[in-house]
Amino acid sequence: MPLQTYVQTVARTLHEEMRRDERVVVLGEDVGKRGGVFLATEGLYEAFGPDRVIDTPLSEAAIIGAAVGMAVHGLRPVAEIQFADYVFPGFDQLVSQVAKLRYRSGGAFSAPMVVRMPAGGGVKGGHHHSQNPETHFVHTPGLQVVYPSTPSDARGCLKTAVRGDDPVVFMEPKRLYRALKEDVPDDPDQLVPVGRAVRRREGGEVVLVSYGGSMAETLQAADALAAQGIGADVIDLRWLMPWDEALVLERVAAVGRVVLVSEAPHSVGMMSEVAATIAEEALDLLEAPPLRVSGFDTPYPYAQDRAYLPGRNRILHAVQQVLDY
């Protein structure tokens, strides 16, 4: 396969899945002729036409809500929310319908679908184009949540999501959309299993856990540590619900020190859950407190776009603290 960016991989994967299964339909704002404002649906309209690539009115409630009825009718909708920040007008649909349908109908109905959304900061978009709302999804029972950090994972996770029997919130780190190219595998059935994390580095002195856009800074920090001769074990969670407790606990038990990196606001974030679980399950194996490096409890700022992110230096500072503890 040729080298591909993240966003190209999304478009190609959708193309493959739509060719494979004619029940797969794409809907969202500007996903048709425009190919999506980030071009994540480029070429689909030309290939599959307006019935399967639907330019919707400007309403996230219509997009997510209609996907429920489509899924119940047997289609496999892949909805695009133009920015994760704009999921909120459709949030009632996600919470009240999508997440609860299987449960409340006793399994009579379910709504397998994918809700894709570019998320995260670092693109000078201000707080309405930079948020990381994963907490809202993870805390809503009935949803699967995934936030892949590489083109290959995007491909494997998207295929898993499209083919699965559950609703999946699929978050894409927009600042990595064109940041790197990868030699993406072309096996059409290579899936990333639900809930399975991956180790990106091996090392014995500290465990770094992250996901999504922050994997970039986390790996930079790990490389800086390696240059200093400090071995960091790096886990990319990928799936946030269910998340891979087993792997995290195994590595933390082995290493004893852990730093958790996520760019969402600090309070009640995904990493609060990971830290709480570690404290509950591995207290005696900890050599130092599990430290979180997060976004701040502020709306996402504009002028200080990069400073808001848990950058390399903030991660290294936390690592130093757990090493010195």
Binding site: A62, A66, M70, H73, Q93, S96, S105, S110
Partner: protein, 359 residues
């Protein structure tokens, strides 16, 4: 189509055959009887909640008869007991749902007044007002895409029309020309809030303009008027003429729900005046005028239906309580490791407290 005295006033001849007309009437009767039984079950503590449908029966039965059960999709709301009955929802399932027993096809997951049935293509009711309307539109968009020649009906009260999700849904349906009929049961109140505070428009039907679809206003106390209008519109939708909005003027005879006291916000005379217009006696007068119904038939029907209701209640109760641990099922297609551990801890705590595993 029939006036208050029960005379046919339609501009064409009624083409329903006699058994259908009689079945319609029996469905109206049955719905009213079920409603009364539900109130009783709630008062005696066998059920926790009722949303009475008395006064809405003609609208709902009219809708039901316009559908092709098992083909057209139905997206109902919590007051649609009569609709559910008239499309053939088994009464034992109905009472199972209302009492949260194992007879509930939804496994006791929701409060009473939340019908649903996969074989009948009746989407399970959700409490959140208007939240089902976008899904109904998705159903219709899928029907159009698949070209299967079916259509969808979606019901709600007039209060629902104020929600953003309602608007999003109708607008999308209009843009797509999707085969769906939106049937609003306007009873003049959303709990205590009357039409004047609900919206600045004089009625609901006019809101159709906003979506480029036709809007209709029909007497919801006239079962044949509701039936004929819905039949036309469902056929038009199936034939590719796109969506429509229907407003059915009805009245709810009871309080909003078993938790409501309607005396606070509406005058007794108003209720009494609408009682005069009760859709069931009105349709009976029509049938009697044609010699298709009489007191003997009435007595016989009531007896038989009461027996069916009794049997269904008994069956629903006999099905037994829903097991405690069913609470953990059906969240996703497979439980997460997180939920597995929560279930384990739940069990351990119960064991430690000497509680049994539940029914």
């Amino acid at each position: 189509m029939i006036d208050e005295a029960g005379a046919w006033v339609g501009g064409f001849a009624c083409d329903l055959d006699v058994p259908s007309l009689q079945a319609m009437y029996r469905h109206l009767l049955l719905a009213r009887m079920v409603d009364e039984r539900l109130v009783l079950l709630q008062r005696t503590g066998r059920s926790s909640f009722v949303a009475p449908s008395a006064g809405h029966e003609a609208a709902q039965v009219g809708i039901a008869y316009a559908l092709r059960p098992g083909r057209d999709w139905i997206y109902p709301y919590y007051r649609d007991t009569a609709l559910a009955i008239a499309v053939g929802w088994p009464l034992a399932e109905l009472f199972g749902q209302m009492m949260g027993t194992r007879a509930d096809p939804a496994r006791g997951r929701q409060m009473p007044a939340h019908p649903g049935s996969r074989p009948l293509r009746m989407f399970t009711v959700a409490s959140a007002i208007a939240s089902h309307v976008p899904a109904a539109v998705g159903s219709a968009v899928a029907q159009k895409l698949r070209g299967d020649g079916d259509a969808t009906v979606c019901t709600f009260g007039e209060g629902a029309t104020s929600e953003g999700d309602w608007h999003a849904a109708l607008n999308f349906a209009g843009a797509q020309g999707a085969p769906i009929v939106f049937a609003c049961q306007n009873n003049g109140y959303a709990i205590s809030v009357g039409m004047r505070q609900q919206t600045g428009s004089h009625n609901v039907a006019v809101k159709a303009h906003a979506y480029g679809m036709p809007g209709y206003l029909v007497d919801g106390m006239d079962v044949l008027a509701c039936y004929y209008l819905m039949r036309e519109l469902m056929a038009a939708a199936r034939d590719g003429f796109g969506p429509a909005l229907v407003e059915m003027l009805v009245y709810r005879y009871g309080p909003h729900s078993s938790a409501d006291d309607d005396g606070v916000y509406r005058p007794a005379e108003e209720v009494a005046a609408w009682r005069e217009r009760d859709p069931i006696p009105r349709f009976r007068r029509y049938l009697e005028g044609r010699g298709l119904w009489d007191e003997a038939r009435e007595r016989e029907a009531r007896e038989q239906l009461a027996g069916e209701v009794d049997a269904a209640v008994a069956a629903a109760r006999a099905a037994g309580e829903v097991p405690l641990e069913w609470m953990f099922d059906d969240v996703l297609s497979r439980p997460t490791p997180q939920l597995e551990r929560q279930r384990e801890r739940f069990r351990a705590a119960r064991r430690a407290a000497g509680e049994d595993e539940g029914p």
